[in-house]
């Protein structure tokens, strides 16, 4: 089981030979703009071991994708200011220069994007793009790269891969394109795979196939997977651990069962509550009222307080005035002023 660590202040279990596979400490990303500094990610902490799947959940603009791009080093060379630490195989992904980061990208860390049509280059054949990913990191002939790419296309379930190799992305269906993206991300067998909303642009039937495929390949290679999504159904299906993000902060983190059945943050409760279910009689969805906070000007208190229906329960206006720390209990963390018993009574009252 993967460990979700406590607040940044606590010292990591350092010095031992068993350093986590990926350890992110106090990761923050800020974008200076004409209107001020946008705090997209604020003090993220998490660890991940090989073979494990971490789901990062949150609504649009909560900082999920920015977190993944910071880990991939894709923000290097932009105006973004990335601070904190992300230790991966003894290297700090945040501090690593672009040239060294490039060696890791594709080889050690693979990435799958949301919309496979726009993520694939329209002018090159699917096979060429996959073989290209192989050639960057392997000393191989073009013929060997082709063989590897055809093999990979077969492994991701594309029928007659030898023919499909020479086709262009626009010849592929949405699901096939995402399979091709997965083939491209996995051709060098990276130990860490980051999937940024990999099923959002796909049909529901295809979504399940893609998730199965990713889980299967992950098992084969014993890689770690960070799955970014806003779909809690997807999370329930494939994740071991979950990190709920809101306003660039982690508001709740823990094992997937704990998040679903022992929910400890009002925002997560709201997310779960707004999920449509097949067997409920209700005809209307239950959205969380209000808007996410502006990342230009985050409130002093709890970031979620303005939309939280339970803010008064904590008393003394503490929710509006004081930013809660991420408090851990049995590997399950919450960033909320409400006490355990208070949350339990809230959960039971629904």
């Amino acid at each position: 089981m993967m460990q979700l660590n406590t607040a940044p202040a606590s010292a990591p279990a350092s010095g031992t030979a068993t350093a986590p596979f990926l350890e992110v400490r106090d990761l923050s990303v800020k974008f200076p703009t004409d209107d001020g500094v946008v705090s997209a990610v604020n003090g993220m902490d998490f660890t991940l071991e090989r073979g494990q799947t971490l789901g990062i959940v949150g609504e649009s603009g909560s900082g999920k994708s920015v977190t993944s791009q910071a880990l991939m080093g894709l923000l290097k060379g932009t105006s973004a200011q990335v601070t904190g630490q992300a230790m991966f195989q003894g290297k700090d992904l945040v501090a690593l220069p672009e040239s060294a980061m490039r060696q890791l990208r594709g080889r050690n860390i693979g990435m799958i994007f949301q919309d496979p049509l726009s993520a694939l280059h329209p002018f090159y054949t699917v096979g060429h793009q996959i073989a290209e990913a192989y050639l960057v990191h392997n000393k191989a002939s073009k013929k060997q790269a082709r063989t590897a790419a055809v093999d990979m296309l077969g492994r991701v379930g594309i029928p007659s891969p030898e023919q499909r190799y020479d086709e262009y992305p626009h010849h592929f269906s949405g699901g096939m394109r995402q399979r091709a993206m997965i083939a491209m991300a996995l051709i060098c067998e990276p130990e860490l795979l980051i999937a940024d909303e990999p099923t959002t642009a796909l049909d529901v039937t295809v979504q399940a196939q893609i998730l199965d495929l990713m889980s299967g390949l992950q098992e084969e290679t014993n890689s770690a997977l960070i799955l970014i999504t806003h779909d809690l159904g997807v999370v329930a299906e494939v994740c071991d651990d979950v990190l709920v993000m809101y306003g660039g902060q982690c508001v709740e983190s823990g094992p997937v069962d704990g998040i679903f059945y022992d929910t400890r943050h009002p925002y997560t409760l709201g997310l779960l509550n707004s999920m449509p279910t097949l067997n409920s009689a209700q005809s209307r969805l239950n959205p969380i009222p209000g808007q996410p906070p502006s990342l230009l000007d985050l409130p002093n208190g709890c970031i979620f307080s303005a939309r939280c229906q339970y803010a008064e329960i904590a008393g003394d206006g503490v929710c509006a005035s004081q930013r809660p720390e991420l408090r851990m209990e049995d590997g399950h963390g919450k960033r909320c002023h409400l006490s355990g018993p208070q949350l339990i009574s809230i959960r039971n009252s629904r």
Binding site: L74, Q103, G110, F113, A119, H121, P122, F123, V136, M181
Partner: protein, 333 residues
């Protein structure tokens, strides 16, 4: 592919027919009287009507027009009855001014126009695309701002200003370059490629200043847009070198609008750069066309107008083919 060629050839013929008819009609409606011009200073009404017969202008409009069109397909006789001369195929008529075969005039002018167009084209493509790309890569930096600023200045400088300034500076003041001469119209001529370059360098620069400005802006805008595309992020995520990301993935995708512009501009320029040829006294198609139009020399004007239209249309077809080569999505099935 065959359908494509047939369709494009068909539209080429139709367009040329339309262009020739319009030019012919405009000329008839216009105020110029080539017969009066041809009969010289001591002119009598008799001599004017003689000249009119000799130029074939006594015939009805449609007879004149179809005689002209006939010449495009076969040799024909030209001139007053009794004094006819043979105009060999392809017969574009004979100049009203010099009685010279128009096809010969065109053949003489073309190398000058080609010489000017080719160098200018190479120069402005390299500077335009190169600087545009540099500006896009350094977006927001002082380099970018300088290039964009220079492009704004360049695009607002008319050819007479840059042309005369270049002549004044490099020929008149610094004596670095010779004044343009009619003797050189090819890099393979007796004077050699060096003299050819020296002869045409200033017109090239004058044209390049004007044209590269818009190429800089189009390249910059499109490259900035392309560098923001998802597939560029994918290319980076694969661990590709920045050079590969920029050129193989970025430039190829972002360059298509430049190809379109290039095709149109080549077509236009081959039809004759009127002002530039005038200022640098290069006797190319533009120069010849202007003088023919002023003198009311219908056959020469017609021929150059149609040739210019032909170049534009062919350039369009070339653009379509280039598009298919660059972008597989528009490739013909």
């Amino acid at each position: 592919m065959t359908t494509f060629i047939i369709r494009r050839t068909g539209s080429l013929v139709l367009l040329l027919a339309a262009v020739s008819f319009i030019t012919f009609t405009l000329f008839q409606l216009g105020p110029s009287d080539p017969a009066a011009a041809a009969c010289g200073q001591e002119c009598t009404p008799e001599r004017i009507s003689e000249a009119r017969v000799a130029l074939g202008m006594d015939q009805p409009f449609f007879v004149q027009y179809f005689d002209y069109i006939r010449g495009l397909f076969s040799s024909r006789m030209i001139g007053a009855p009794g004094a006819q001369t043979l105009c060999e195929w392809p017969c574009l008529g004979k100049s009203f001014q010099t009685n010279e075969n128009v096809a010969d005039i065109i053949a003489r002018s073309l190398p000058y126009t080609f010489s000017m167009a080719i160098g200018a084209l190479v120069l402005w493509t390299i500077t335009g695309v190169g600087l545009g790309l540099l500006a896009a890569l350094r977006k927001g930096s002082p380099v970018d701002k300088f290039i964009v600023g220079a492009a704004s200045v360049g695009v607002s400088l008319p050819i007479p200003v840059t042309g005369l300034f270049l002549l004044l500076l490099f020929v008149n003041q610094l004596h670095l370059l010779p004044f343009t001469t009619n003797e050189i119209n090819s890099p393979f001529g007796p004077h050699g490629p060096g003299a050819w370059v020296a002869n045409y360098l200033l017109p090239w620069i004058a044209l390049a200043v004007l044209f590269s400005a818009s190429y800089i802006r189009v390249t910059r805008t499109n490259m900035i847009e392309t560098f923001g595309e998802d597939f560029i992020r994918t290319a980076r995520a694969k661990g590709l070198a920045p050079r590969t990301v920029t050129f193989k993935h970025g430039v190829r995708a972002g360059i298509t609008p430049v190809v379109t512009m290039l095709g149109m501009d080549i077509g236009l320029l081959l039809g004759g750069a009127v002002l530039t040829e005038q200022i640098f006294s290069v006797p190319g198609l533009g120069f010849t066309a202007v003088h023919a139009a002023i003198a009311g020399d219908l056959p020469v004007t017609m021929a150059i107008t149609m040739l210019a239209a032909f170049f534009v249309i062919v350039a369009n077809v070339a653009v379509d083919l280039a598009y298919a080569a660059i972008d597989p999505r528009v490739r013909l099935q």
